[in-house]
């Protein structure tokens, strides 16, 4: 049986767990993945997000998340003004395309020195979310647990290198999935762990042969 706080909860800013709370979490996750305060974000909304985002405050929730607010932070209500104060440029684009899920958003995120990243995510209902794509790489990040995203070359041994580094730091892996575009091309490992992975271990992983980059995310 679930915890009593799953049924009387979450604590959130209204009006909709999928269109508001989920949107705030998507924005926050996009900010975490970008790793810095963006200068400009173009958000393309699909499906029900595109049709009902104004009435559900989805726009303000996405911006609030990008500003680092949690889904229960009342500053979400004024997020459009606060985004301007934070010199965050933004646009919302309503896409007529049906891409197979009702609540999808694509973030095109721009930062200092022409840095660019694209992040695609969906709101699953009840405030739950999933990031499904980063810079064109398929992946799945829910933000519910500490998460490592490892970009690597698809070669034998990469997975054992990473799992060994984790086990040597006494970190228990909760789940692991590998995504790749083609055999022997770039691949992405998404690993959730029962505890926080320390920066020394992360740096060690980054320096391993075949590992291109490692990102870490705290639970949202």
């Amino acid at each position: 049986m679930n915890s009593i706080f799953d049924i009387i909860g979450p604590i959130m800013i209204g009006p909709s767990s999928s269109h508001t709370a989920g949107a705030a979490r998507l924005g926050k996750m996009a900010r975490c993945i970008f790793g810095a305060m963006p200068k400009r974000v173009d958000m393309t909304l699909y499906g029900s997000f595109a049709k009902t985002y104004k009435g559900h405050g989805t726009d303000r929730a996405l911006l609030g998340g990008l500003l680092g607010f949690r889904e229960d932070d009342e500053r979400i209500r004024n997020a459009r003004v606060l985004a301007e104060e934070a010199q965050l440029d933004y646009t919302f684009i309503e896409s007529p395309l049906d891409i197979g899920h009702p609540n999808v958003v694509k973030f095109d995120v721009y930062g200092d020195n022409d840095r660019y990243m694209s992040v695609v995510g969906r709101s699953l209902g009840g405030g739950q979310i999933m990031i499904t794509e980063v810079d064109g790489h398929d992946m799945s990040i829910t933000g519910d647990e500490f998460t490592l995203v490892v970009f690597h070359s698809d070669r034998p041994g990469a997975i054992s290198l990473i799992s060994q580094a984790l086990s040597e730091s006494d970190i228990n892996i909760a789940s692991m999935r590998v995504f790749r575009k083609e055999k022997y091309k770039d691949a992405v490992m998404v690993i959730t762990t029962d505890s926080v992975v320390n920066p020394v271990t992360v740096q060690f992983m980054r320096e391993c042969p075949g590992i291109q980059d490692v990102m870490t995310f705290e639970a949202l």
């Binding site: 049924i7 604590i11 959130m12 209204g14 009435g55």
Partner: protein, 290 residues
């Protein structure tokens, strides 16, 4: 000792076996299953009860309309007036429940209970009863515990999402959660708690989810007020010793079966019911061009 429960019947049996209340079973299970102390659980419940109250105040104090202009200010109108037909408790429950859903529609902080669309029923009903009977925080904690056990059973054995089971799954669950909380708070027996659940859910089966313009406003906001009163009715029946001929677990199963038999147009798609009336469609068009 295991307090594991799957059904309302399980909770009733455990309560009677151990001669404890319905809500006591729920907290004993929570202690067994999760790594939290009783003090931590009670503190978290009180934190959520405090948000129930702040949502009521937000709804009463902010009388501006929503962006869609479909809701806002009705709770304040009721609060400034007096009941003509209803008891003070029912009137207050209705007012508070509408206040919470107005707050929700205007992006204030709420606790989903079990969903955001149905977040007013439980705070409205419970706060009204607590104020009128001058019950303390501990009594409200007991009510919270009983109702969360009820919600958990419905979520596990049926559904609480309008997109899956229609409004009966959202408001229906909220109403029988609130009814169970009231009976528990007023010292009813576990058997009476179970009757309140059955009577609450049984009398709103089939309720469709047909929100205008896809927003959580029409019919949601006022419906929370109406079903907070419904929860009080179910609790009143149960406390008077009235029994449901159909047991609570069977009623929950019926709700699930009805929900899944409902056409998609009546399950939160805004393709049926109120949403596609001439006025509903006109509002949707206006909202779309905002």
């Amino acid at each position: 000792m295991s307090y594991t429960y799957e059904t309302i019947g399980d909770i009733l049996r455990l309560a009677e076996e151990h001669q404890i209340s319905f809500g006591d079973v729920v907290i004993r299970h929570e202690l067994e299953a999760y790594d939290r102390s009783e003090e931590e659980i009670v503190a978290e419940i009180k934190r959520r009860l405090a948000i129930f109250e702040s949502s009521i105040q937000d709804g009463l104090n902010h009388i501006e309309r929503t962006q869609s202009n479909m809701s806002g200010g009705d709770a304040a109108t009721l609060h400034a007036g007096k009941p003509r037909l209803m008891s003070d408790i029912a009137y207050k429950a209705m007012t508070y429940a509408i206040a919470v859903n107005e707050a929700n529609a205007k992006m204030f902080r709420i606790v989903a209970c079990p969903t955001a669309g149905s977040c007013g029923v439980m705070p409205g009903a419970v706060q009204a009863v607590a104020e009128e009977y001058q019950l303390d925080a501990d009594a409200m904690v007991k009510g919270f515990l009983a109702s969360s056990g009820v919600g958990n059973v419905v979520a596990n054995r049926a559904c609480v999402a309008g997109a899956v089971g229609g409004c009966q799954a959202e408001i229906g669950t909220a109403a029988c959660m609130a009814a169970s909380a009231i009976v528990e708070m007023l010292g009813g027996t576990p058997y009476q708690v179970v009757q309140a659940i059955a009577l609450g859910m049984k009398n709103l089966l089939g309720l469709a989810c047909d929100p205008v313009a896809g927003l959580v406003e029409v019919p949601c906001v006022k419906r929370n007020g109406v079903y907070a009163v419904h929860a009080i009715t179910a609790a009143e029946l149960a406390l008077a010793g009235i029994e449901s001929q159909i047991p609570a677990d069977d009623v929950i199963e019926a709700m699930n079966n009805i929900g899944r038999a409902m056409p998609a147009a009546l399950r939160e798609t805004s393709d049926g019911g109120l949403a596609v009336t001439p006025t509903g469609l006109a509002i949707a068009e206006r909202v779309q061009s905002l």
